[in-house]
Amino acid sequence: MSGFLTLPGVIAENPLISEEFHRPTTKLFVWDCVTGSVDIGGIEFCLNRVILLLFLSMLLFIGLFFFAFRKPKVVPGKLQAVMEMGIEFIRQQVVIQMIGPEGMKFLPFLATLFFFIFLGNILEVIPGINFPVNSRVAFPMVLAIVSWVVYNYVGVKEQGLLGYLKSVLFPPGAPWPIYFLLTPIEFFTVIIVRPITLTLRLTANMFAGHLLLTLFFLGTATLLANVVTATFAVFSFALAVVLVGFEIFVAGLQAFIFSILTASYIAGAAHPEH
């Protein structure tokens, strides 16, 4: 390269920028232990980046709510107002909407779900972190299992074991021959598919989002390495920025969907006629 075709030094000398394209792989989601591992009950425990980010999202959760409600005021400050608005949103749009006023006892659970998922997701777009905790399937799986336990427990508690099983396996209002088809499907749906779809929906969204952002930022880096393709880097970078905005939206949306679906399962278990 010579003359005006020379790239600006800051780009040309950046070791990350090479013409070799770094293809994003599943290894994006795997992190080595940063400490030695400890064996507790046959499970290997070690701190890696994922666990540290999980702690970070916990810390954010506790920090936000602690400082918002440390000294709650009748006339709220900014942080208190924002966090109140968040919980109020869950109360109105999830609890009241899906379960009704008698579902208020589930508000702490659903609010925890929403904020925990949202904070884990939003780490994706925070500079310097750029990793959604919930792209690791284990965390959505835990939440889906909790959700599964809760709505089944509510069903058994509200209708009794037999009543709940009956309402699950033989949903009212269908002519009897249909049950040959309906019963297996219903059982499969309610008991098996629901937690899996909850898990996969959240995981896959975060996984795909991370891949997309990685792809576009890596692509931008690769395009910058060549003076001819550098022009196109502008477009890939612009799209990457747009995707960051999209991922912020997805982070909130997925947290909302997870909690509203859980609420709807709880409502269905409590009142089978709905």
């Binding site: 770094h22 499970i43 994922v50 916990m58 409600f69 284990a138 990685t214």
Partner: protein, 212 residues
């Protein structure tokens, strides 16, 4: 730009090959995830919710209290306004009543006074007329008596003294003299009577003279 750089830094360590087992849930992540969720749930349940509900309750009470206070103040203001209005109306009625009363009083007083004055006038007039009439009657009676007596006396004297020219004229002179004394003292009853008495005596004397 920061995002770009950091993303690039974070993916720098990536390996190149896909491995499906990378996507399986790690056992320790399940455990950590469960612990994290449990911790956050209890934090939400024990710390956030009580404070939130307490705050909302306090806010609700405050708002309700203020609304009630406002409502009460409004009601009180309405009541006071109505009271003032009724008082004002009462005062106006009272004023009208007083004015009306005063006018009636004045009217009745005027009528009374007029009536009284009229009555007094009538009384005075009546008394005056009465007096005048009485006086006139009295005077008339007196005059009638005196004139009679005087006429009698005069006639007696005229008749008695007709033979005597000299005496006749003296009688006339005396009569005139008597009249003259009668005239100036005509307002006094006593002098009138006195003179009448004098006159009465004289004709008796005079009339007696021609007989005697």
């Amino acid at each position: 730009m920061v995002t770009l750089i950091s993303t690039i830094v974070l993916i720098a360590q990536e390996a190149e090959e896909n491995d499906p087992s990378d996507l399986l849930p790690a056992i320790q992540e399940l455990v950590w995830g469960a612990i994290a969720f449990a911790v956050l749930f209890f934090f939400m349940l024990k710390f956030v919710m009580p404070r939130l509900n307490q705050t909302l309750e306090a806010r609700r009470e405050k708002i309700q209290g203020e609304m009630e206070r406002a409502e009460q103040a409004r009601r009180q203001a309405d009541q006071e306004l109505a009271e003032y209005r009724s008082q004002l109306a009462g005062a106006r009625d009272e004023g009208n009543r007083i004015i009306e009363e005063a006018r009636q009083t004045a009217e009745s007083m005027r009528r009374d006074m007029a009536a009284k004055a009229e009555q007094e006038n009538q009384a005075v007039l009546a008394r005056a007329q009465e007096e005048i009439r009485a006086e006139r009657d009295r005077v008339f009676q007196e005059l009638k008596g005196q004139v009679g007596e005087l006429s009698l006396a005069l006639a007696g004297r005229v008749v008695g003294e007709s033979l005597d020219r000299e005496r006749h004229s003296r009688i006339v002179d005396d009569y005139i003299e008597e009249l003259a004394t009668l005239g100036p003292s005509g307002d006094g009853r006593g002098s009138g009577q006195g003179s009448a008495g004098d006159g009465g005596e004289e004709p008796t004397r005079g009339s007696g003279t021609p007989e005697g």
